[in-house]
Subunit: 218 residues, 2 copies
DNA sequence: AATAAAATTTAGATTAATCTAAAAATATAA
DNA sequence: TTATATTTTTAGATTAATCTAAATTTTATT
């Protein structure tokens, strides 16, 4: 079995690998986990001993198949619990991350599968992130963001790239929730600030905000 | 915040105090937690520093109000999660203990209260143990066991004093589940083995088994 | 290619939880 | 009540995860 800490490292490395990076850097991991590079080096050695990552000094790490499987299963758990918290316990989408961070480590095959079934085999979590299926397959929706649209285009909100409470809370105030329809009315050339229509209401949104909102054109 | 380990110590001390014991012994705690007395002494000192227990060398420990509150809230969590696992995820009563041992430590007020509400404010867990309410009040049903009955008496199964998988599994095979009606047909004088009627079926049950089954006379 | 800057690793400490073995205190029994 | 047994505590080590500070390697820049 792996400790919570080991699991968090594997998850961090997995997520940092998604950008197609070959060899995740020690500093990047330290940043993501809010720890020190020297601590990361120590842990990487341990994970390498357990064949969960492949590692050569100064060259960064990559997950092995085994390590990747563990990471995906934790992500599966995390996202299923988020669905549970929002759909069954009526939490809001900006409240569930920290709780799911704890629940995800109760990593028992049977519990996960029963939960999945109880929830009706959801495909996405409350933030639009895809939930890996029981075999670890995961649908990656391609990241078209609101900031990619041009004037006159319409789209539906399908996810977020940033999960902070403040961002999610802000989006909710603007009614920019999953499924909302948006239409680009105008874009400021200077800083890409957008004027958009959400539920017939005019909204002004910064580039910082629009580039973190994943949409699907319609 | 308290670590998982600290919480497990508090829970163990709480349970060992239920028999009206003043000053829970180091050895009893070590036994319950499958650890060594020297480890227990170390941890007790730490808990005493945090004002969670009162302690004098060689005299055993007692929970303070603060320590007792923590213990009760963990027990509340544990039992609520057990209800969830059995009623919502269709686990059997002999499968839920270990999972609940992990879930109980995600000790967030809001989560517990939402779960309680979702489950319909249950009063008892799947083994018949009372669930403390949100203020920590707990109904203690007085422990009449099957072994206390005499020939001819009838009763309903309301709980168990022993939670091992093997015991629970055995009871289920005999249909001695919560709510089952039993009638004492005969008792062997030598070793208190009982012949009882469960759902019109004759069952022979040892004293070891009957004294761990909590019943209510009817 | 030499040097400066940045990233990474090593060395050595620290903290929490545990252990074994030995010492001290308490309880029990002749 | 003295000796013996049991319980509890202390002393000193160990393991996992972390840290700081120093050393090393890689990368970037002149």
């Amino acid at each position: 079995m792996n400790s919570f800490t080991e699991e968090n490292y594997l998850k961090a490395i997995y997520k940092l690998s998604l950008n197609g990076v070959q060899g995740v850097s020690t500093n990047a991991i330290a940043d993501k986990l809010a720890t020190k590079p020297s601590s990361v080096t120590d842990m990487i050695k341990k994970l390498a001993d357990k064949k969960l990552v492949s590692y050569q000094k100064y060259q960064g790490v990559n997950l092995t198949k085994k390590g990747s499987d563990v990471a995906v299963s934790i992500i599966r758990n995390h996202r299923l619990w988020e669905v549970f918290l929002v759909e069954k316990l009526n939490f809001k989408w900006d409240e569930v991350h920290d709780l799911a961070e704890e629940l995800e480590h109760i990593n028992t095959h049977k519990l996960t599968e029963r939960l999945d079934e109880f929830l009706g085999f959801p495909k996405f979590d409350p933030h639009g992130d895809p939930i890996p299926d029981k075999d670890g397959n995961i649908i990656q929706h391609k990241d078209v963001t609101l900031s990619d649209l041009i004037r006159g285009e319409k789209a539906v909100v399908v996810g977020v790239k940033e999960h902070s409470k403040s961002y999610l809370n802000y989006l909710e105030q603007l009614q920019l929730v999953l499924g909302a329809e948006v239409e680009v009315k105008d874009i400021v050339e200077f800083d890409a600030t957008m004027q958009i229509l959400v539920n017939n209401k005019q909204v002004i949104i910064s580039n910082q905000a629009s580039k973190n909102l994943i949409v699907k054109k319609i």
